[in-house]
């Protein structure tokens, strides 16, 4: 497979930046894991490390989506990007903004008093989980994202090939941009603050990102096994339809205990319980398609794509549904059970998605037909086995916490520092082995297609 259009190569810039942020995310993740055992372990406090951990995650996935989208839009429209210089500018603008924001977090971590008020908003850190980026950065991020969307839409308009994949992908990205806006509302009420905050967080990961994932999965299935567009797109519509029908009102599962009316217990309980269904269909879709078509050109790409749907279902679906009913969530809300779900869901749904897109598109970008895929499998097993054990240890910690703190009434700190200590130790060890997996992946990314040795 070779790229058809020179401008598709821009995807590689985004992938590189995404992967470097992935590495940063996991390094700080290991530091955070050690701080659970030894809070004074590092020069930066846990809150700064944790902010870096979750922000690096969100940003590297978004940057990965952007790179993949430039590639897909050019391919699907069968034309060069509308403006390559604009794409390059948008890339470097994103890099500059992200680096400045990260420096701001670090400064704030070292000198909390530096987080002053400027025009009514915080200069360095907004102090709101996931959307800590200060307002000036929000505005720059929105501008960069609008330039990205403009470039994509103008490319589609060049040839007017509105394929289903393009429609859902770009629709998902527009939805994503719109859902960033409720995060910029300041309210005096913490209840309203969290209400709008969930519009961003939930409607991203269980709404717009789901659309992007379905569209990219459909694209990969076509490229990997030569599946027919009509079939792939039909199932994609079924999946994204169900993602939206269950996910939008499924937001209600965040409105059980934050001061919102009781009817959300019903709305959230019913709709979020249905949220695993589209993920199960996605899983079945991937298995059926890959069984039906046997002309696999890129085995490792297919391996990652299928692994993505399996762990998407396990992490977002199974690990989500176990604590989504209000009767259960009353006891588990705000415990490590949520952390366990978050880790497996993000890994399966989005980390493996971006990695799969990289393994599907990078060989074409680098102009290689065959490549040594042994490192790709190695990194997969290091990452996945480590993540499974990380999730099991945090789930164990969450169960102990729910039982001892919530049911028996023991003190939070006593449970965390004493009864859960071994879970934190194991989690940190598996964190290090996850980091090894990332290291292998980073090496593989930079070497792919550049080695002269014959494929294994």
């Amino acid at each position: 497979m070779m790229i058809k259009h020179e401008s598709q190569k821009i995807a590689q810039n985004f992938y590189t930046f995404a992967i470097l942020l992935f590495l940063v995310q996991v390094v700080v993740g290991v530091i955070a894991a050690v701080q659970f055992i030894w809070p004074d372990f590092f020069i930066l406090n846990f809150n700064t490390i944790r902010t870096l951990h979750i922000n690096a995650l969100v940003v590297w996935l978004l940057v990965g989506f952007m790179g993949a989208t430039y590639y897909v839009v050019s391919e699907e429209s069968d034309t060069e990007l509308w403006s390559l210089p604009l794409a390059k500018f948008q890339f470097w603008a994103t890099v500059a903004t992200v680096i400045t924001v990260v420096l701001g977090y670090i400064i704030m971590g070292l000198y909390p008093q530096a987080n002053i008020l400027v025009f009514g908003t915080r200069l360095l850190n907004e102090g709101r989980e996931y959307i800590e980026a200060p307002r000036w950065a929000d505005i720059l991020i929105v501008i960069s994202f609008l330039l990205f969307l403009l470039n994509c839409f103008m490319t589609v308009l060049k040839t007017k090939k509105w394929t289903g994949i393009q429609g859902v992908l770009l629709g998902g990205l527009v939805f994503l941009a719109l859902m960033y806006l409720p995060g910029m509302i300041y309210t005096k009420s913490m209840v309203k603050d969290q209400f709008w905050w969930w519009w961003v967080v939930h409607l991203w990961v269980e709404g717009s990102w789901g659309l992007i994932a379905s569209a990219l999965l459909a694209f990969m299935l076509m490229k990997l096994v030569g599946a027919r567009r009509e079939v792939v797109e039909k199932w994609m519509y079924v999946e994204v339809g169900l993602v939206m029908f269950t996910g939008i009102l499924g937001t209600g599962h965040h409105y059980y205990w934050i001061g919102t009316p009781e009817y959300w217990l019903w709305v959230g309980g019913i709709f979020s319980s249905l949220e695993p269904i589209p993920l199960l269909i996605m899983l079945w879709d991937a298995f059926r398609t890959t069984r039906e078509y046997r002309e696999v050109t890129n085995k490792v790409g297919l391996f990652y794509a299928v692994a993505h749907v399996i762990l998407y279902f396990a992490g977002a679906g199974l690990w989500g549904v176990i604590h989504t009913l209000p009767q259960v969530n009353k006891w588990t809300h705000g415990t490590q059970i949520t952390t366990a779900h978050g880790h497996l869901a993000f890994y399966g749904a989005y980390v493996l998605l971006v990695m799969a897109m990289i393994y599907v598109t990078l060989p074409a970008i680098r102009g290689v037909k065959e490549f040594n895929s042994s490192r790709a499998y190695q990194s997969f097993w290091w990452l996945t086995i480590s993540m499974v054990f990380i999730v099991l240890t945090i789930t164990g910690g969450g169960m102990v916490q729910t039982y001892m703190e919530r049911l028996m009434g023991l003190d939070y700190v006593a449970v965390k520092a004493t009864y859960n200590l071994w879970f934190w130790i194991f989690r940190a060890i598996f964190g290090v082995s996850f980091l090894i997996g990332v290291g292998i992946f980073v090496v593989d990314y930079f070497k792919l297609g550049k080695e002269t040795t014959a494929p294994a």
Binding site: M244, R406, V413
Partner: protein, 229 residues
Amino acid sequence: MSNKAVKNLFIWGSLFFFAIFVALTFDTMGKLDKRAPEITADVNAGKMVWHKYDCIGCHTILGNGSYFAPDMTKTAEKKPKEYLKKFLMDPKAVNPKASMPKLGISPEEADKLLAFLEWTSKVDTNNWPPKPILATAISVGGRELTEGQKLYQSLRCSACHMINGIGGRGAPELTNVGSKRDRAWLIGYLKNPSAYVPNSVMPAFGHLKEKELNDLVDYLLTLKQEVKK
């Protein structure tokens, strides 16, 4: 079904569910203010302090946040204000084992934060967090409690003190207090803690009746179990 039909179902169905979501949001926004106390200038200023120090980077509030440190929703209800204020300004001075770093929170900022936390503790959260089953069971039946034990519970001493593994870790453990202190010391301390322990963060209980103080101390003096380290 044709691809076009499935596509239309997806688009119109999504818009339909989004419209319901927006309608529910409108309804909710109209009801929220009645489910919480009034937001004074101090409460809002406290919320700004909450954001300034990125408190959510370690704590949860209303159950959302970082799971690294205790949930703050009902803190103001559980712990005495004097304790919380001193703790916020210099955690390790109050409790050497505390993980929380000294962030440079000023006395004014601490007051505002406490006003904010007092507000969150009064939000109607559909009874979250639920009362622990074990703690509830002890207070309702099984065995007869002495007057002192009842006072220990109603004054919520266990929010900070621990006896036999049950209770908080913010203040000294009381499992063995009966072998360490005598009646006179305990009564004097309860009436005026800082006269006995300089900079004590314990609130004074001088408002208790003499009989209540004696009942409570009777109970404390029975606690003579050796603490195994």
